[in-house]
């Protein structure tokens, strides 16, 4: 039963709305410090080469240049830009295969040197004067080539030739072949996924100041200030407590591109600051952001699905071979998440997953919204539709039959499954008009309508795949307002509003009484940051814990003042009152001041409990395919989400809508291409087909509540979920329209037309 709350569950206006609408919100790219220099980066033009020599003499003489940094005069401590460096748990070891500047470059765009100068123009001109001698080496671009015996070894790896990170195996049954032997029908198919890009609007940026006393202060676009703090401390061999990393306080989007460091922006800015003794700003151009910051993993996913003819799934095997690009980044974790998710949507007695990430000479792949789940579910849910066709069962009914049910075991123990997935499917189907499927096209139609669906799950944080914890501080100020602090940045996901909502509700005060410190290592305790759809579930839990403690302290303090046992006291609207006699009360400001002049402040630390709870989702797509040109147009998307409880429904809807459009791009138009020399072909927004406003279809988000045993007010994660089942929904809809199965994304007009033609 839905409780009636004062603040949570309400579509409160964003607290950062006014500054952002006025253009006064500060982003890293807006930050200027006195004496600041500008850093620009020299990048490899070759996909694979050894750096034989670097001559910086001419560049150093260019007017305005203050320093030139290369591997010769900067830290050679190995690291990974990925936050995995900091939050890999005891079961693994992070792959530290990167340096600030490489002596062996492994993709077009790899960092070779950098210049700090008085102006951006001076730095750019001086870059042209750096003379680098390369020995060009053979290059590979596809993971299927990475394993060939004659393929160049891009890194030494203990896991196998060109294997980036540990191979992930999930053997969830004794013998998968036994499972397949019990099946009446088997579908086996290999799906090909592209590398795609986050294309967040604020490019990677950092302003670093390596101060005279050895302290390092950095303002940057990182989604994880505390992780970046530890990474920089390691790279520059400085105590963590002498490094500050913060957002200023806002970030222009993230979507995974900066979990850990913002590519090399922070370390290069810091290195240049160390060399010059002045603050240095490094802002990636849009082209650099495209070619030299982590992408989504593309690659090959082979699915084998077996079922009995009554529709029950008996066996599922998923094998992924991912294109990790030049450096490991989150290669291991992406394989792991893909496995956890694809193995957890349907109740299947025999299941198996194996995931491997391979090095290639392409832009490194890393974290991007969904983190392996969109790719995996495209493959699995395409196979489910193929099975539906083979068995003659409606794909919706087949999914309702086989999907995980409440109280089934889930991928994350110990909590049994709480899921409203069936309700998501039913509501979504009704909204899209699923009953029209198969009934709308006439044989002679040149433009055909199709309906498709996809489902899935995710996590509400990254436990147990990663170290995942949040701490929070809470303090009642002397006027009864509440100060809270936790490390999660707000990159648009709304934490700077929703976490104060949690605090306000828990304390019993109004939202405008809450002050929130976030995204700054100096003023907030450790947090692994904003990613993994975890900020509400994990940071929210920590905030809840801390504020509950403060609340309890206030109540206990008020016991003698109000002459009432603690159980009979409540706090609402900043009023501490007797439950059985509300006219007997004291205002919070009164109590706070009363305590203050007696040398007392109410404050506490809170922590999130390591736990996880899967959210669930079902997407439905209605598309129109032009059979003569192959153009696919999405007419309507319905996105039904069980995220437990939406602390701010307006913000949750916005996250879903944005995710859906991102998923549509993944399905239809987005693809990073290189030519035969490894040179990226789409290095600008003009050349990379992200959706513009005129491409937006009708998007209908549906929020489905579900009682959850943990999470603040029962909230689960949702930030990534909007783009997870979308790929399968669109692909299945295109198949419904054309009668043709697409196993490669994106479904560009050319690919669609070719398949239609071949099917004739």
């Amino acid at each position: 039963m839905m409780k009636d709350y004062n603040c949570v569950g309400k579509p409160e206006d964003r607290l950062d709305g006014i500054p952002k609408a006025l253009g006064r919100a500060v982003f890293t790219t807006d930050v200027s410090l006195p004496g600041m220099l500008y850093g620009k980066i020299l990048r490899s033009p070759h996909p694979h080469a050894k750096v034989i020599s670097i001559d910086t003499a001419e560049a150093l003489k260019y007017p305005g240049v203050k320093a030139v940094a290369t591997s010769r005069n900067t830290s050679q401590v190995p690291f990974t830009t990925a936050g995995a460096m900091v939050f890999t748990g005891p079961q693994g070891r992070p792959t530290l295969d990167q340096h600030i500047f490489e002596d062996e470059v492994r993709y077009v765009g790899d960092e070779v040197a950098a210049i700090a100068a008085e102006t951006e123009e001076a730095a750019e001109e001086a870059l042209k004067l750096i003379n680098v001698q390369y020995e060009v080496l053979p290059a590979i671009y596809d993971p299927l080539d990475s394993v060939k015996p004659d393929a160049p070894d891009l890194h030494w790896s203990p896991f196998g030739k060109n294997v980036a990170g540990a191979v992930i195996e999930m053997k969830l049954c004794r013998d998968i072949e036994e499972g397949f032997s019990q099946c009446d029908e088997i579908i086996e198919e290999t799906f090909k996924l592209p590398q795609i890009k986050q294309v967040q609007l604020e490019t990677q940026s950092a302003v670093a100041d390596f101060e005279a006393d050895g302290q390092i202060r950095v303002v940057s676009t990182t989604q994880t200030p505390h992780c970046a703090q530890i990474q920089l401390a390691t790279i520059f061999e400085t105590p963590v407590s002498k490094v500050q990393v913060k957002n200023p306080p806002f970030i222009g989007g993230g979507f995974g591109v900066r979990i850990g460091l913002s590519a090399k922006a922070e370390p290069i800015a810091t290195a240049l600051s160390k060399l010059t003794g002045r603050p240095v700003k490094v802002t990636y151009s849009r082209r650099e952001d495209f070619i030299a910051s982590d992408t989504r993993h593309g690659g090959y996913i082979t699915v084998k699905l077996g079922a009995r003819k009554d529709g029950h799934f008996m066996a599922l095997s998923v094998i992924s071979r991912l294109n990790g690009g030049a450096y490991c980044s989150f290669g291991t974790e992406t394989c792991a998440v893909m496995g956890a998710m694809t193995m957890s949507v349907y109740s299947i007695p025999f299941r198996n997953y194996c995931g491997t990430c391979y090095y290639t000479d392409r832009t490194p792949a890393g974290a991007m919204r969904g983190f392996g789940n969109p790719q995996g579910m495209f493959a699995v849910d395409s196979a489910v539709d193929m099975m539906a066709e083979k068995l003659g069962i409606d794909p919706l009914q087949l999914r309702i039959l086989n999907s995980v049910k409440p109280n089934d075991p889930t991928w994350i123990n110990p909590y049994p499954c709480t899921t409203a997935l069936i309700e998501c499917m039913e509501k979504g189907a009704a909204e899209i008009g699923w009953k029209n499927r198969g009934k709308v096209n006439k044989p002679e139609d040149k433009k055909r309508i199709g309906y498709g669906m996809g489902i899935g799950t995710h996590g509400s944080n990254s436990f147990p795949a990663s170290v995942d914890y949040s701490y929070a501080y809470a303090a009642l100020q002397q006027d009864g307002s509440l100060q809270i602090a936790t490390g999660v940045p707000d990159m648009g996901n709304g934490t700077s509003t929703t976490l104060p909502q949690v605090a306000a509700e828990t304390m019993g005060i109004s939202l405008n009484q809450v002050g929130f410190l976030f995204g700054d290592t100096e003023s907030t305790p450790f947090n692994i940051g904003s990613h993994a759809s975890r900020t509400m579930f994990s940071a929210g839990s920590a905030i809840l814990d801390a504020v509950k403690k403060v609340r309890q302290q206030v109540i206990e303090y008020a016991v003698p003042l109000l002459e009432s046992p603690a159980e009979n006291l409540d706090i609402q609207n900043s009023k501490v009152f007797l439950k059985d006699n509300p006219d007997t009360f004291m205002m919070l400001p009164e109590i706070a001041w009363h305590a203050h002049i007696r040398d007392i402040q109410f404050l506490a630390t809170g922590k999130s409990e390591p736990a996880n709870l899967p959210p669930w989702h079902a997407h439905f797509a209605k598309v129109e395919v032009d059979m003569e040109t192959g153009m696919v147009k999405v007419l309507k998307m319905v996105a039904a989400h069980d995220c437990g409880f939406a602390v701010n429904p307006k913000i949750v809807e916005g996250q879903i809508e944005g995710g859906v459009l991102m998923g549509i791009g993944n399905a239809l138009t987005e693809e990073l291409l290189v030519d035969e020399n490894g040179v990226p072909q789409n290095d600008s927004i003009h050349k990379y087909m992200v959706a513009m406003a005129s491409d937006t279809p009708e998007i209908i988000p549906i929020l489905v509540n579900c009682d959850s045993p943990v999470g603040p007010f029962g909230a689960k994660g949702v930030g990534e979920c909007g783009c997870i089942p979308t790929l399968a929904a669109v692909a299945n809809a295109v198949c419904d329209a054309t009668g043709v199965r697409f196993t490669e994304l994106p479904m560009t007009p050319e690919r669609v037309l070719e398949k239609i033609r071949k099917a004739k």
């Binding site: 040109t629 030519d675 003009h686 513009m692 007009p749």
Partner: protein, 302 residues
């Protein structure tokens, strides 16, 4: 990038400045192409001569059935012009498809022609309108047919260090002429076309046969390409779907698209081009009152 910038008040001023800096100046209108070209090293200039404040170049006029668009007129101005919407609406549609509103508010049609890109949307529509380009130079004024402005990919016949475009002119369409502009695109804004096709069709008084048709296709050559063989095959031919379909197949044989990693292979474009030509011609015919074309759903524009 260092260069001087001069805002010219008259055409004569432009010519004089060009004469004073031989080979070292370049005309700038909107500037959306030229700065990127200079940055990428494709062009160089010590002096940019801005022509957008010259009053004569900012007019859209219709006089005696002839339309004149000044060289400083932007895509947005053309898109919104009631003169153009009434008399040559395919040009308004072509202009609307370019870039974004911010770009259309600055970028000029003349600039689009001078940049000599294969897929320039406005130029494709203007070619279907059989437009002419007026040029002022050191020796006075000349007029050339629009296709003569293209010497090669990215190579204009107009040398902006010694000449400037002053106007684009064409005959207004009359009510017995229909037109259409179709663009195949991966995104509805900020995307170059995979293919674009413009068609203008005139029917004979019986409404059953073509008087003439102009069919323009891009990017299938250095500049917009007129499908002359297909046009010839339609002269006095019955205005039926079968005839149009056959002409569209013929038009495709006159096209020579290259393969683009980003915007479609040659094979794909050759496969789809006849579809677009067919749809464009049929849609143009559909605009002519009294036509006898039975179109069903298939001539729907993209």
């Amino acid at each position: 990038m260092k260069c001087d910038y001069y805002i010219a008040p008259t055409i004569e001023n432009v010519i004089a400045k060009q004469r004073a800096h031989p080979g070292k100046s370049a005309v700038i209108a909107g500037g959306t192409d030229i700065f990127l070209d200079i940055e990428e090293g494709k062009k160089s200039a010590d002096l940019l001569i801005d022509v957008t404040q010259i009053p004569e170049l900012n007019q859209i006029e219709e006089t005696g059935g002839r339309i004149r668009i000044g060289a400083a007129v932007t895509h947005a101005a053309v898109e919104k012009s009631s003169v153009i919407q009434r008399n040559a609406h395919l040009l308004a549609e072509a202009c609307r498809s370019v870039g974004s509103l911010q770009i259309r508010n600055i970028a000029t049609l003349a600039g689009n022609i001078v940049s000599a890109q294969p897929a320039a949307d406005a130029a494709v529509a203007l070619t279907a309108l059989d437009a002419e380009i007026e040029i002022a130079g050191q020796d006075g004024r000349t007029t050339i047919p629009i296709l003569k402005a293209y010497k090669g990919v990215g190579k204009s016949a107009i040398d902006t260090s010694s000449q400037l475009v002053t106007a684009i002119t064409f005959d207004a369409l009359n009510k017995n002429q229909g037109s259409a502009f179709i663009r195949l695109e991966q995104r509805t804004a900020l995307a170059l076309p995979m293919l674009n096709v413009a068609a203008v069709a005139a029917l004979n008084p019986d409404g059953k046969t073509f008087a003439w048709v102009r069919i323009v296709m891009a990017p299938v050559g250095a500049g917009p390409v007129r499908a002359l063989k297909a046009e010839k095959s339609l002269k006095d031919a019955p205005a039926t779907m079968d005839v149009i379909t056959a002409a569209a197949e013929l038009a495709a044989t006159e096209a020579n698209p290259r393969s683009s990693r980003l915007r479609g292979s040659r094979e794909y474009r050759m496969e789809v081009l006849p579809v677009l030509v067919r749809r464009a011609v049929a849609a143009a015919v559909e605009e002519v009152p009294g036509h006898c074309l039975c179109l069903e759903k298939e001539a729907v524009l993209l």
